[in-house]
């Protein structure tokens, strides 16, 4: 099983995602944003960071990178795609996920560990969790407030597409405490917390490791 970690100019959690996926036993490769294919990867990770400095809007410029055409194609054909933090923002800008990530309610960047509840185990990235399981994961973002219109939110809820919800401490004011969502086919997942920073006891939590335990997942889940 091969995971591609896409690097945009300004990505800065690319190495963390790479190491987390490697630790989970995957064959991992970096794909530069100018690439027009995914080098045969089964799973795509869009890592966190500040692609293009987040200038204009987070993800607004990165969505036009050449690689995004291949990512969209991969997603359309059912391939698993995970966007973490800035990756989530890019997926929303690229309209591979609905809604948007707005400036945090408190207007400040916020970095701290939060508790996140797993709301769906029906995605490739949460298949190894139980619904209702609480995870301790760090957040680190300035624009993490999930916003969508009511109809979209209801559609997400009804379709079981809310994947993660903040439990207790909502660090950014996200609507309905949403921390992560999935596409209609549930193969594309975006999340604001950083599972790749929570894969070792030494660093305080291993709760994120199972996100990357994708053995058995192949293109076209």
């Amino acid at each position: 099983m091969k995971i591609a970690v896409v690097r945009f100019p300004g990505s800065n959690c690319d190495a963390d995602a790479y190491h987390a996926a490697r630790a989970a036993g995957a064959d991992v490769t970096y794909v530069w944003h100018r690439s027009t294919d995914l080098e045969g990867a089964d799973v795509v990770v869009l890592p966190g960071g500040f692609s293009y400095g987040d200038y204009l809007r987070p993800g607004a410029i990165a969505r036009f990178s050449p690689v995004m055409r291949a990512v969209a194609e991969h997603a359309r054909s059912g391939g698993p795609v995970l966007g973490i933090c800035n990756g989530f923002q890019i997926l929303c800008e690229a309209q591979l996920l609905p809604g948007t990530l707005a400036r945090n309610f408190g207007l400040s960047f916020v970095c701290r560990p939060v508790t996140v509840r797993v709301e769906s185990d029906a995605t490739p990235f949460t298949a190894r969790y139980r619904v209702g399981q609480e995870l301790r994961l760090p957040v680190a973002h300035g624009d993490g407030r999930y916003v969508a219109d009511d109809a979209t939110l209801d559609r997400l809820e009804r379709g079981g597409r809310v994947v993660f919800r903040y439990a207790g401490d909502n660090p950014n004011g996200a609507m309905r405490d949403i921390a992560g969502i999935a596409s209609e086919e549930r193969n594309v997942v975006g999340m604001m917390p950083h599972p790749e920073r929570a894969v070792e006891t030494l660093l305080g939590s291993t709760d994120g490791a199972a996100v990357f335990a994708l053995a058995g997942v192949a293109a076209g889940v």
Partner: protein, 760 residues
Amino acid sequence: MTARSRPGDPAITSELVRRHGLNPEEFDRIVAILGREPTYVELGIFSALWSEHCSYKHSRAVLKTLPTTGPQVLQGPGENAGVLRIGDGWAVAFKMESHNHPSAVEPYQGAATGVGGILRDIFTMGARPIALLDSLRFGSLDSPRQRYLCHGVVRGIGDYGNCVGVPTVAGDVVFDPAYEGNPLVNAMCVGLLREEELIRAAAAGPGNPIIVVGARTGRDGIHGAAFASEALAEGTEARRPQVQVGDPFTEKLLIEASLELIASGHIVAIQDMGAAGLTSSSAEMAARGGVGVELDARRVPTREDGMTPYEVLLSESQERMLVVAERGSEQAVEAIARKWELESAVVGRVTDDGLYRVRWGDEVVAEIPGRSLVEGVPARRPEAVEGEAAQARRARPMPPTADRDLGDALERLLDLPTIASKRWVYEQYDTSVQANTVRGPGGDAAVLRVRGTTLGLALTAGSSGRYVWLDPYEGGKAAVAEAARNIAVTGARPLGVTDCLNFGDPEKPDVFYQFREACRGIADACRALETPVTGGNVSFYNESPSGAVLPTPMIGMVGVLADVTTCVPAAFRTTGDALVVLGRCRGELGGSQYLSMVTGETFGAPPSVNLAAERALVAFLVDAAERRLLASAHDVSEGGLAVALVESAVGAAPALGFDVDLSAYARDVAADAALFGEDQARAVVTVDPRHLAALTALAVQHGVPATMVGTVGPVGAAVRVVVRDRRLERPIARLREIYERAVPRRMAGAEGGLPAAAGG
């Protein structure tokens, strides 16, 4: 062909020379070096390189007295950053630098560009930046202006560090009216490299091309280096347009491009175009390599039309690097830059004539013996005399304080922003990116693991300006001793120091006395603790119309853990653990936060520093951690033992109470002095009762006094302290609330007029 002035250049008058910050003696020296009057461009070049910021003309003789060597030192002072070996072939590059004056004028950009500059000093050594630290000083948060400055500086540091993906893991923030007109913003960066990857910024190889990589050059901060060497005067407002704007996105690309360039083997040397821009970077690289350079300033890519050679040479536009490449590697260098979406341009060559020559197309606009720029400045030997006021405030007797309610005093101390939790600050920083942060902010020192090894790094930065103000020598010692304790309580062995010496106007004898004596204290402490100083920065002229800041020699320290899993937290861990105080109780209240809180003034002799006791304490803490005897360990510093205990208690999640009897420990000391005295060489540790005997025996072996004073816990319970007939009792939840709310409560609504922050 000698250098000529250009049409339109101003005439070289004594007024112009003065405005360039050069005194008549220095100007005469320049004329003697050149054998003629300088051109306007040359005057600008000398002005920049002979400024205090670049030349250390006031401080050089004193800095030479600092210890700089040791088996761990791979690179001492004189390079972009110092480098220490940490084991297994790994090394760390680290340095601290000030950005005080730019931050006073524009807090957001001033702080942001300070972070950008210190990052570049690290990755130009071939090291990947893995951590940032910041030591900040502001006036009282009761003033709207200070809240604005604090808000802007924190946001600026956060936006820059967060965007480049380097975690901000430690530092300190102190609020004191003495910093009212002149905040201190000191940023430290730590980078990791393999020993064999070290690259030095020495130009070599006549004929080798000199290449600018990164952002275009605009009219930013022209004469910033000279500006940093001047006290902030009323007229400073008029200089505002010269502020520089940071671009962390470009910086991130520069990090990647520079590390790839270094790894490629195509380059000989690389340096940040920092203060005084192209001029200082090229002159310093040439001087280190003992070669000459020839630049064509017209080839430098500019952001604005109509820039003059003077402006191109002295611009402080950010996110630019100067590279000396191997001859014939021009295209390879350009290809790497382009891959990272950066511009590059060949702007000159290394020469063998030792001259610093600048062309503007066919014209020669400057031609100066290169060495004279870096070494030719006449040293100043300022007078150093301790002021009478300083002697008087140190000698002033302690007033009676003992009958105060201890619980109320503790609560008021925890509400002081200097002592209170800095969560409001550090939660705006990405503290965990790169996934190496074992212990982030909020404890004594941060601890990072070194991926792929068992090694851990402990990092800290700070200083007590109050102690230095009262007694520069003891204060200098205390700054180093506290840094070493911060490192050692995590279980790490202190390895080396970078310093950032913030003082007032060195031409004032009392200021220079403070500087010289503080450095003597730092030197003695660094020798005793075997932590050589490998680099740093001097920032003079930290004055405003209201006077000089507290003399604040910031100490950044790096320590190493052989096995990062032995690292010890600052927070209590388990109910029932035994509480042990290390070090003696003397009840020293001089210069303490408690004394200032009670009297409204800072005076008295600051706590004396016994370097042998500090050394023993450090050795003991490292030994005990390696044997895994400690459940927690926390340094005793500002606010004394009581504050240290509460910090360890509220740091636990959930908070733990404690029950302590200090009657025996503080036998001959008044209750308030026992609780709030800031006696040095102390730490509070907790230990599983089963290990208590082993710990006590180890303490005896190291000659460290260890007194069991009580027990930890339970969760959510009260804090109880008894000193003979005096009692203090408070619910931990209440103390936690005060400690956590003190800063956010004051900062509420401080935002305003700041540029939008980016956030990913």
